[in-house]
């Protein structure tokens, strides 16, 4: 039962997240690029998305940090790493470069395939291939893996 509630909650949370992204305009890569284009005509909308999201989530995380179990009785899986290392910076640089090229980051890209846009599908397939390449490379080099990634 608990497991079913966990699954149901995940589905609903994914849905709310996706609806938020659509309302915010983040599923439109042209709009995202309009935010990243600070030297052109700048569309600050994405800053409002982040601001609105953090406004709510910051309260929840303050509360969550004090808890030892979640509302469904399961474990709190708060990220444990606080390392600022080469992986974090190089990974974020690569991600940011791809984000700027296409105007898609993972969440909005997945939600966009729900609109049936073929180009969004191409992007998502390439993104999954990229993730698989990382998995294989990571296993090959036997680097220590963190159990809880974000």
């Amino acid at each position: 039962m608990k497991k079913h509630l966990d699954t149901l909650s995940s589905l609903i949370v994914g849905l709310i997240f996706g609806i938020g992204l659509i309302l915010a305009g983040m599923t439109n890569p042209a709009k995202v690029i309009g935010f990243l284009d600070i030297t052109g005509t700048w569309d600050p909308s994405l800053a409002f998305v982040m601001g609105g999201a953090i406004l709510v989530a910051i309260v929840a995380f303050r509360f969550a940090k004090k808890r030892t179990a979640n509302f469904l009785g399961g474990a709190m899986r708060m990220p444990t790493s606080d390392m600022i290392d080469k992986r974090l910076v190089i990974g974020s640089l690569l991600f940011g470069a791809g984000w700027g090229m296409a105007g898609f980051c993972p969440g909005p890209a997945l939600t966009s395939i729900g609109t049936g846009n073929p180009k969004a599908v191409i992007f998502v397939v390439a993104m999954i291939v990229g993730m698989a390449i990382f998995e294989l490379a990571d296993r090959f080099w036997h680097q220590p893996r963190q159990a809880a990634t974000q």
Binding site: S9, K65, L72, L93, A97, C105, M131, Q150
Partner: protein, 143 residues
Amino acid sequence: MMIDTANFTPGLSLLGGILAGTASALFILNNGRIAGISGILGGLLSPRKGDIIWRIAFLLGLIAAPTITFMFMPAPVVTIEAETTTLIIAGLLVGVGTRYGSGCTSGHGICGLSRLSPRSLIATLTFMAAGMAVVFVMRHLVN
């Protein structure tokens, strides 16, 4: 700096952000998990028993969202200017980068900043700067 007043949507974007933040809040409190999309998707590529269904449920929710909004508003505009080759390279970079850097706009940007993580702040500043630099080069130097 010129503000793009024609496309700027402060109200809707704030509302959308509040919804995404509410989703992240529900996820940490209800499920005890970080709503980081790249991590949720990437975790399916090294599947572990008992750690699969919730990921699929979350991703299905994300993908089903346009079907729900379509009931009360027009289909979202998805304008993708990038050509296929660019899209493929961009997708590969986003896939590798988010996994190597352990997060994306949701995990580091929304959740990480909300839990006041210095690590996520560095990640967010880095991918924002990289994105801005790439757009500058592609829009203003190349074309």
